[in-house]
Symmetry: C2
Subunit: 351 residues, 2 copies
């Protein structure tokens, strides 16, 4: 056996399919249907490739500066990583350890969380959702554990957690344990916790450029938190990879941040299409959970999630299902452009 | 205390300075003095930014295909990562664990190795070099441990390990323990172990686009090894970050690989400048270790490494020293263009 003991406990995350064989309507990985800001093209046009011979700024100084201005924080309250998955991994490393108890997260949530636990050998307690798939923060206050991680809105349900509930959790949670909120989809309608960072030094908010910024191909994520937490994330980065974010990605990220008007417009359109699509599904007798995301979680009685997935795939449409109780009956469908969702509706009617 | 127990044992790697304040002649991080292949500009010109809305190929299929052709391996013997530092980190995770003994590496070597050990809690044994700073593979065969990692050429000495010595190590080392060779600088004159991969399924060779390919700003590294070892690295990646390499980096890497003639020419020039620079230093009474890298390791009796570093920095030239026995007297100087090294010589003469 050539591998370390560690490898025996390791789980792998299964990302959504990225088929290279044929052309699908990809509604399976919550990518943005719109291209990123057109200003990015001019970054590439002007870019002097000689800059690539030098290492990138290991601190991502300018990008962090821009992010700090946008979110009303200091630069030392911003950490940047190679995608929010890397940012999350560093959070697990820095903040969570079984010596203080089990990590708490929802039973139905981003399926990478148990994988990070296996990577770093962190015991966890998957806390059941309410019957309506909402999160009961009271259960987290009761159990305490070594920390909490919640996506808001939650995945794959898409349901947002009201800010007052999060504040209740933070008010009643030990100050020396960290609460991480993964806000990958927050721009599509949930309430951000960024405004609470000043009050709670044990709160970390994880964000990504992949979804609302339309830059999944770039790999850029960040964490907003107190200087203490951010400083710990820098220590972890410097023990793993000194320069995780390349020069072009830093520059493209900066430019995307300067085009708020464009992003406001496409986000508004996605939310509008989501509302229409959800209403149309309800008309067809489907159940749809209330979404604050760029996807919806839906079911049709009499069909399993796998059946819906397979029927749609045959028609060239990719969605995602999870072979897991109690969400086996559901599929997660990314909100695309208006015409994309009309095609989905047309296909569904022909089932 | 908001951090995990893990954080208490964690060391940080100290990368070479990347000063943002004034303009230096940067000979401190072994960057290539030449820009990367001019073909890369046309990748950026032609690039459709809409591709960035989609996740990258998580398998880096085309890039791995190109690498496999270049090195005469199958695609399943190639793993790609976000820089060779990430590749190395994954190797430490997958292959090395204290349950099988201590990890062996040279006492003087890439200073990130003990940092990875702290990250994953791996005990290590730093094996002394010979008095001439060469590596004695016999010591590794005697001690065994849980695995071996060696840079070839070694850092920061720049000394290459002859292939026959590496073959001796592999012939006499347990087949179920892994030997990792970090070949970051191999293109500048050392003998690559890639040809041994067919014979030794426990050999992993780590490479980077940062040095000879002039793409430090891109963050692209890779591992060449048996399918068994590569498959384990994919498992680790999928438990850390499903998409560590962004779309543009994959495309730029592919293009760089197709311009062998350009890279052969600049590598030849760097080797030639290194030889002239080393000879000139010897003429000035400096000691220079025999280098197979794009840097030299040198000392001048009567001066500490820190003094040489400080004197050069005052004159706008950055080099690197290590506050560590037995190399305190040395500085590591990256080989730049001919005129860069003439400036260094002129400055040194004025000490």
């Amino acid at each position: 056996m050539m591998f370390s003991e560690r490898m025996k406990r390791l789980l792998s995350y299964t990302p959504g399919e990225q088929p290279q064989d044929r052309k699908y309507l990809k509604l399976n990985t919550n990518e943005n249907p719109y291209p990123p800001s057109p200003l990015i093209k001019s970054v590439l046009d002007r870019f002097d490739i000689e800059r690539l011979r030098l290492y990138p700024d290991p601190q991502c100084g300018r990008l962090r500066e821009k992010l700090s201005l946008r979110y009303g924080l200091s630069k030392n309250q911003v950490f940047v990583a190679n995608g929010s998955d890397e940012a999350l991994s560093f959070c697990f490393y820095a903040f969570f350890g079984s010596e203080k108890g089990k990590l708490l997260f929802p039973q139905i949530t981003y399926s990478f969380f148990p994988v990070y636990c296996s990577f770093y050998n962190i015991a966890y307690d998957a806390v059941p959702l309410n019957d309506d798939f909402t999160i009961d923060v009271g259960k987290y206050v009761e159990k305490i554990g070594c920390g909490v991680i919640l996506p808001n809105p939650n995945a794959p349900t898409g349901i947002g957690l009201p800010l007052e509930k999060l504040a209740y959790l933070l008010d009643n949670y030990p100050k020396e344990r960290v609460v991480v909120i993964d806000e990958a989809y927050v721009d599509f309608g949930a309430e951000s916790a960024v405004g609470l960072i000043h009050k709670y030094p044990n709160l970390a908010v994880v964000r990504t450029f992949s979804k609302s910024m339309g830059l999944a191909g770039l790999r850029l994520g960040f964490v907003l938190a107190s200087e203490t937490l951010v400083s710990a994330l820098f220590t972890v980065k410097d023990s793993f990879n000194s320069y995780p974010v390349d020069t072009l990605s830093q520059m493209i990220g900066e430019t995307a941040l300067s085009d708020e008007a464009y992003y406001r417009a496409i986000t508004k359109e996605i939310i509008s299409v989501r509302k229409d699509f959800s209403a149309a599904l309800l008309d067809l007798g489907w159940s749809v959970l209330p979404s604050s995301s760029n996807f919806i979680f839906t079911r049709k009685s009499g069909l399993s999630g796998e059946e819906i997935y397979s029927n749609l795939k045959k028609q060239g449409i990719l969605v995602r299902y999870f072979d897991l109780e109690p969400i086996k009956q559901f599929v997660r469908i990314t909100i695309g452009k208006k015409e994309d969702m009309q095609r989905v509706l047309k296909t569904i009617k022909e089932f």
